[in-house]
Amino acid sequence: MENGFFAVDLGQKNLKEKVIQFDGTNYSFEETGFENMEIDDHSGSTAYHIPEGTLVIYDPQDKSIKKEISQIPSTALVPSIVKNFDIPMPAYLKYQPIAGIN
């Protein structure tokens, strides 16, 4: 960290050594402000993030059955919304129509 923004990634699991090393010296958690918290439900992170997500569009004016699931980049949603409202499209946006919105 240096002058500005500082982020620390904690959450270390089931630590066996109850010390923090700082400038080469060991300190207890209590001395350094850290806490090794017992987890009530013992849950870990048994799922992780993947790039594929969900997009579902309900239009009360079109209740026909639609079977297929197509794949689109998540960046396609914003330009389709901009187009829907008929306002100027920022130059950096790449418009591709999304059925259900356009």
Binding site: G33, Y48, S74
Partner: protein, 363 residues
């Protein structure tokens, strides 16, 4: 023809969970309506580690993280909001009646936040500021509960912020059914203390009532509503719901039996939200409902935890680093990441892995 849009942000829910839920609950509104919906699998084009504070700005701004450069909660967005503004900012500045409720990186509030129909910043906001002002007691309660339940769910209720919120009930729009549901939850906690984990979900149940009151009142042209409640449950209880996903599974049957319905519980709450939105759109057919997740989740390692390292006393931490209170300021963030603004000269290196944390100082 221009149509009004409700963008419901169902954080991180993949098609796997949607199909699982609809197959198991064919009488749910979501299962019944889904065949009528346009359906897509979105792919976030972001580079590197995926986090919701990266993938949502990608969806909201229409460019990936190599362009928007957003990688942390509460980082300075002044320049990126000019270069690649979020959709709500684009629409509001073009005269579209817009509302924002909890979307990622909607805090800090923009200077023109009172020009929005409503503006309730994300759960990482540094203060309770919201528009209209009478929503602020709700936001204050919501922020306090979020911070007290980062890893373990707090067993208490913040009475100060809770009582201030209750004084605004008529304006906020909480429904009687919500109070009955909350009462049932509190009774259930006395019989089965482990269901306290569901309190995370009740925060969004309350938020959704406030959101729908605003929708009915002002009928905006574009709105967002963010919910992390299913994502939170998937992270913790995926192994209980989908034990067959893992080659190595060392988790006991008792834990699986206790928590195997928690993803279903959160999806049931989403189904209630979806039902209400569908009813609203059917009554107001100029609306469309867009449900997006920005990315998904899948199984990782089936493991149970006894403990995790967290910041217990940050004043002591900075005292240890020989920094006085004027040199640092806590910035809200999502567990297990801790964020601060600071004015210290010199450098502190912190290196951490899943089992290791190490700091050193330098001139």
């Amino acid at each position: 023809m221009m149509r009004k849009i409700i963008l419901f942000e169902l954080n991180e829910v993949p098609w796997r969970v949607v199909k699982y839920y609809c197959d198991k609950n064919p009488d749910s509104t979501f299962a019944k309506i889904l065949p009528q919906c346009f359906k897509y699998e979105t792919v976030t084009p972001d580079q590197g580690h995926l986090s919701p504070w990266i993938t949502w700005p990608t969806l909201h701004r229409g460019v990936d993280n190599t362009k928007h450069g957003i990688g942390d909660l509460n980082q300075d967005l002044e320049q990126v909001n000019k270069d690649y503004p979020p959709i709500w900012q684009i629409l509001q500045k073009n005269g579209i009646k817009t509302g924002v409720f909890g979307s990622m990186h909607s805090s800090p509030v923009p200077s023109d936040f009172r020009k929005y129909v409503f503006y309730v910043p994300d759960a990482f906001a540094v203060d309770k500021t919201a528009h209209p002002e009478y929503i602020e007691p709700f936001q204050d309660f919501n922020l306090s509960m979020s911070r007290e339940s980062a890893r373990n769910v707090s067993g208490g209720i913040n009475m100060k912020t809770g009582s201030q919120m209750l004084m605004k009930v008529p304006q906020l729009g909480f429904k009687m059914n919500t109070f009955f549901d909350l009462g049932k939850q509190l009774l259930d906690e006395r019989k089965r203390p482990w269901v306290r984990t569901r309190r995370r979900t009740y925060q969004v149940v309350l938020a959704f009532d406030v959101f729908m009151k605003q929708m009915r009142k002002s009928k905006p042209q574009f709105v967002t509503f963010f919910s992390n409640h299913v994502a939170s449950s998937m992270h913790r209880y995926w192994a209980a719901t989908f034990p067959g996903d893992y080659k190595q599974f060392d988790i006991g049957k008792d834990w699986v039996d206790t928590y195997k319905n928690e993803i279903d519980f959160t999806m049931n709450k989403f189904d209630k939200f979806f039902s209400e939105m569908v009813a609203f759109a059917n009554e107001n057919p100029d609306y469309k409902i867009v449900v997006a997740s920005s990315m998904g989740q899948a199984s990782t390692v089936a493991e149970l935890l006894d403990s995790q390292l967290l910041m217990g006393n940050e004043a002591k931490f900075f005292e240890f680093l020989k920094m006085d209170a004027s040199q640092w300021k806590h910035v809200p963030s999502m567990f297990p990441i801790q964020c601060y603004h600071h004015t210290r000269k010199g450098r502190i290196f912190c290196q951490s892995t899943e089992t290791y944390f190490h700091c050193r100082t330098a001139a």
